[in-house]
Amino acid sequence: MASKFWTQGGSDTEEEETDIEDEIENGGAGETTAAAAGSRYLQTNASDSDDSDGQKRVVRSAKDKRFEEMASTVDQMKNAMKINDWVSLQESFDKINKQLEKVMRVTESDRVPNLYIKCLVMLEDFLAEALANKEAKKKMSSSNHKALNAMKQKLKKNNKQYEELINKYRENPESEEEKFEDEDEDEDEDESGSELEDPSQIAAESSDEDDEGEDVDDDDADGAWEKKLSKKEKLMDREFKKDPSEITWDTVNKKFKEVVAARGRKGTGKFEQVEQLTFLTKVAKTPAQKLEILFSVISAQFDVNPGLSGHMPINVWKKCVQNMLVILDILVQYPNIVVDDMVEPDENETQKGADYDGTIRVWGNLVAFLERIDNEFFKSLQCIDPHTREYVERLRDEPLFLVLAQNVQEYLERIGDLKSAAKVALRRVELVYYKPQEVYDAMRQLAVLSEDGEKDGDETKVEETRGTSAFVVTPELVSRKLTFPENSRALMDILVTLIYKSGDERTKARAMLCDIYHHALFDEFSIARDLLLMSHLQDTIQHMDVSTQILFNRAMAQVGLCAFRVGLIAEGHGCLSELYSGGRVKELLAQGVSQSRYHEKTPEQERLERRRQMPYHMHINLELLEAVHLICAMLLEVPNMAANSLDAKRKVISKTFRRLLEVSERQPFTGPPENVRDHVMAATRALCKGDFQKAFDVINSLDVWKLLRNRESVLEMLKAKIKEEALRTYLFTYCFSYDTLGLDQLTKMFDLSDAQIHSIVSKMLVNEELHASWDQPTRCIIFHDVEYSRLQALAFQLTEKLSILAESNERAVEARFGGGGLDLPLRRRDNQEYAAGTAGGGGGRWPDLSYNQGRQGSSGRAAYTGGGRPLALGQASRDRSSQSRGTGGYSGRAGSGMRGYQMDASARMVSLSRGVRG
C-alpha cells in the first residue's frame, strides 16, 4: 500500500492529487498527512527548483543555477532508485535531458557536464540490476513495469550518444570528476570576468601543454576560447606530441580524413571538431593542405549553428571571418593554388609543397562561404533584440565582413572570375544600399577607429605567430583595412557597374533594385524612376524569389517616399498605393508579421515569414510611410471627391483612403488625433472645407517629420501643395454658390500669389473641370451655369449605364477567351473592384487571394504569401499602361480632367518603359 501511495504521489496528474486528498480525509492519520505533504513538497521541488531557490534568494549566475537544477534532479533520481520507482525515474530522466540542453546553451560549450554522465552511468547500472532481478520485476505494478521498459529503450538510445564519455568515465571516474571541477572553474572565469583576463593564469595553465595559441584576435570572448582550446588540444597533442619533424603530410592527412569523416555523426561534438581541425591547420605540412583543412574548419564552424532559425554564435562567426582571411592570405601568397568546387581534386593534390610550380587544385568555394557568412550575420541581426546593446555591438561587426568581402572580391577579380566577383559585390551592395550618407559616414569612421584599435592587436598577433610552431606560417598579405570612397554613391557606382557587366540575372536584378533604392534615398527621383522603368523589373518581378520581391517592395516604397520629398504627389501615390491596398504593408516589406483576420497562418508559413524579416536597422519607418501615403492620397482624393460630389463612387483614386474616410466619418465623436491616420483624417476634414491652415497645422504636428533630412523644405512644399489643393477643393465645392469670384479675394483666402492662383484656376478651366472663365478687366472668375434638364440628365445616366454594360460584356468575353486584344476593360477594373468591394468591407478581396496563395505555398515549395503583392504590383502597372492607352478615347468627356491628370502621371511612368522595350 505504502509503495503504491508513493508511486502515485510521484506522478503529478490532478486526479491523483485529489485521490490523495480523499485519502487524507478518509484516513485522517497524521502520518499520512505528513507523508503526503512531504511528497508534495518533494514533487514541487522536483518540478521546479526555482521555488526552493526562492527560499534562500541567493543571486547566482544562470549557469550555476542550471547546474544546481541538474544536481537536484539527480538527487531526485537517486531517491526514486531507492524505492524502485520507475515512473518518477522516467520523468526525471526526461527532465534531466531537457536541463542538459539548457546547461549546454548557457555554457556555450559542447562538453556534456560530468554530472550528467555520472547520472547516466548510475542509471545504466541500476537498470541492469533491475532487469536482472526478475522476481522484483514480476512484483512491480503494471505502470511501473511499463515505465521500466520504456526507460530501458530510452536509456539505450540516449546513451549511445555519449558512449565514449561513459566509457571514459567508467575507466577513470576520479580524474574525470576532477577535470569537471577544473573546467567548471575556469568556465566560471570566462563568464564572470574575462575582461580582466589574467595572463599569468593562462601561462600557468598552458605551461605544461604545448600551447599552440593560434592567431586569434584579442577579443574577450576569444580569450576564453583559447583556453578551452588548449585543454582540448591536449588530446590531439598526444598524437602530435612527437618531434615536429616526425609529423608527415600523411599523418596529418589521415587525422584530417578521420575528423572529417566523423562530421555529422551522432556523438561528434561540433565544437570539438572545429577545435581538432583548427589544431590540424597548425600542423599542416603544405600550404595547400592548410588551405584544405581551413575550408573544413569553416564548414565545421557553419555546422555549429544549431538550426535553421537560430544563428551562429558570434564568436564563432568572428573566427570564421578570420579563417577566411587566412585562406585569402594563403591564396595570395601562393597564386598557383586554385580553389574550385567543380572538379574532385586528386587525393594527394595537397601533398605538393609550397615550392611546387604547377597549379594545385583545392576543393572549396569562396563565394559560397562568403555568402554563408553574410547570411549568418543577417540572421544574427534578425534574432537579436534590436533595442539592446548587443544589437549595436553586432552591427559593429559589419566592417569586419566588408573587409572580407572586399578582399574576396579583389581576389576573384584578379583571377578573372568576374561572375563570382559580381556575386560578392552584390553582398557588399546589399550592406550599403540602405544607408543614408550619415550612416555611411558613421560606418567609415567606425572602420577607421577599429583599425587603430587593431594596431595594438596586430603586434601581439605577430609575436604569437612567431612563437607558434605552425609549419606553414601565413603572413598577413591581405589588407585588414577597409578602403571606402568618401561617398556612398561612388561605392555603389563601382560595385553596381561591375555587377551589371558580369553578374547573372538575379544578381543584376537585385543590384538594380538596390541601386534604385539608393538613388531614391538620395532624392534622385528621376534617375530612380528611369532605372526602374528601363530595367522592366515590374514585369518580371513576380517570377523572382520572395526575397527579391521584398527588395522590390522596399525599393518601391523608397521611390514613393522620394517622390513625395521632391514634391511629386501623384507619382508618390502611384508607388505607395499598391503597397497599402492590401493592408499588409508589414508583411510586404518584411518588417514584422501582420495578423490577418481572415485566416490563420500555419506554423510553417510563420516560420518562413520570420526568416524573411529585415533586421531592424534596415527598416523603412512605417509611420512615415503611412503618413506619406495617406497625405498623397488626401491631396489627390479630396479635390477629386469635391469635383465628383454627385457620384462619388465613379472616380476613385485611392480606395484605401476612401475607406478610412468612411470609417472616420461614421464615428459619432472625433477626439483629438492620436496616430498618423487620425491626423490625416483631421487634416482631410479641414481640407474639405478649404481650410488649408488647419490642415497643414494638423499634418505639421505629426512627429514623423523629424525623420526627414530636409524637413523644412519638405514641409514648405507640403504647405504649398495643401494650399493649392485647398483652393481647388474650395472652387469645386462652392462653384455652384457663386456667380463671380474675385481673384483678390482668393488671394487673400489662400495666401497664394496672383500668378499662382491664376495658373491653378486656368489649369482647371482648360481641363474643363470648372465651367467658368476669366473676366480680365475686373479680375474675377465668372461661373457658367450648366444645368441639364431632367431629360438630359437621364440621357446621361443611360449612356453611362450602356457603357458599363458594354464593359461587363467585354469582361465576360475576356474571362472566356483570355482577353487577347481587349485593352479597354482593364482600365475600368479598378472601379468595378471597388464597387464590388464596398459591400464586403472593401479590402476583402486581397486576404482571400493571399489565402489561396498561402495554401499553395505550404503544400508546394516556399510559402509565397509575401509574393502576392509584387505580383499585384506588376499587374497594376500593366493596368496602368492600358489606362494610358485608353486616354485618347476618354479625354473628351467633360469632367474627366482629374482622371486624366492622374493618368498623365502614370502614363509617363509607363510610356517610357514601353518605349525602351520597343
Binding site: 528621376s526 491664376h758 495658373s759 478651366l765 478687366p777 449612356t799 509617363r908 518605349g915 525602351v916
Partner: protein
Amino acid sequence: MATYDLTPRIGPNLDRHLVFPLLEFLQERQLYPDEQILKAKIELLNKTNMVDYAMDIHKSLYRTDDVPQDMVDRRVEVVARLKALEDAAAPLVTFLQNPNAVQELRADKQYNLQMLNDRYQIGPDQIEALYQYAKFQFECGNYSGAADYLYQYRALCTNSERSLSALWGKLAAEILMQNWDIALEELNRLKEIIDSKSFSSPLNQVQSRIWLMHWSLFIFFNHDNGRTQIIDLFNQDKYLNAIQTSAPHLLRYLATAFIVNKRRRPQFKEFIRVIQQDQCSYKDPITEFLACVYVNYEFDGAQKKMKECEEVILNDPFLGKRVEEGNFSTVPLKDEFLENARLFIFETYCRIHQRIDMGVLFEKLNLNYEEGERWIVNLIRNSKLEAKIDSETGTVIMEPNQPNVYEQLIDHTKALQGRTYKLVGQLLEPAQAQPAC
C-alpha cells in the same frame, strides 16, 4: 548667350566633318572667342586628312607662316596613302568610269560580282579597296568623289555591315555637299535599315537612332518640307524614347518644329506631356515657353520666354539659318516662330477668358495697339476666333463656348457601337474556327 548653345552636346553625335558647319556658324555669331574656335577646328582636323586646311588655320591662328613639323609629316603620309589606295582601287575605278562597261551591270548583285571577276579580274579585294579609297577621299574633304564611290560600292558590296557604314558615309557626304533631296533619300533608307535590322544590343540601336536624328537636323532645317518630316521622324515612339533617354536636347528642335507647324495638333498634346516630364532633364527657353503656355498657364512667363527664344533661335546653327534678301538678311524661322508662338499664347488665353482688355493682351503679345487690333480683326474675319471687339471699352469679348449636351451624348455613345462589333467579332472568331477544324 552661349548658355543655350548646344554644340557641345550635339558634337559628339556627329561625324567630324559635320561639326565644321557648326563651328563656322559659331564663328560667325561670335559667341566664343575666335581663338577657341580655331583651336577647336585644328583639334577636329587632326584626325582627318584635311591637312592643308589645318595648316591654313594654324597660320591664321598663330599669325605665322611656319607650320609644325608633324603637320608636314602628316601631309606627306596622307599623300602617300592616298596614292596607294588609288592604285589599289584603280581597276575598279577605271571600270566604273567606262560608261559602256557600267551598262553591263544588272540588278543582280551575284551576277555582277561574277561578271566582274570573270571579265575584269576585279575581285573582293578591289571592291574592298574601293571602300577604303572612298573613305579616304571623304576624310580628305573630297565629298563628291566619296559620295560617288560609296554609291557604287553599295551596288557591289555584299557585307551588310560595310554597306551600312557606306550608307552613313554617303549621307554625310551628301549633307556636306548640301544635296538635301538626295540626303533625305539616304536618310530614309538608313532609317529603314536601322528600324528593321536586329542589333546586337538595344543600346546600339538607340545609339544609331540618336546619330540619325542628329544628322537629320541638317536636312530637315534646310529642306522645304523638313519641318513636317522632323515631326514625323522624331515623334515616333521609338525615336522619342531615344531622345528622352539619351539626347533630351533634341527636344528643342522638335518643339520648334511643332510650334511652326500648325497641322500637327493631335500629336502636339502628347508632346506637351513629354515636355512636362522631361523638364528635369532638359530645358531651354523654347521648351519652357511651351511649358508656360500649356502646362502652367503662366502668360507673363511665356511672354518673357518668347523674347529669350528669339535669341536662342538666332544663335542656333540649325534654327538660325539666314536668308539673304537684297541688302539685309533675315532669319525666316525666327519670324515664323514668333508669329506662331504669339498665336499659341493668344489661343490659350482666349480659351479661358470671357473678356480681355486689349491693351493688356497686346502687351503680352509684344504688339502695339493698332497692329494688334488689326491682327484680331483678321483672326475674327478668318473665323479662327469666335469673338467680338468692344471698341468703346477696348476689350475683346469671347462667345461663350458651351459644349452642346447632345454632342456630348453622341460622344459618349459613339464608341459603344464599335466596341460591340469588336466584341461580337471576337466571340464569333473561335466559333467559326471550330467548325473549320
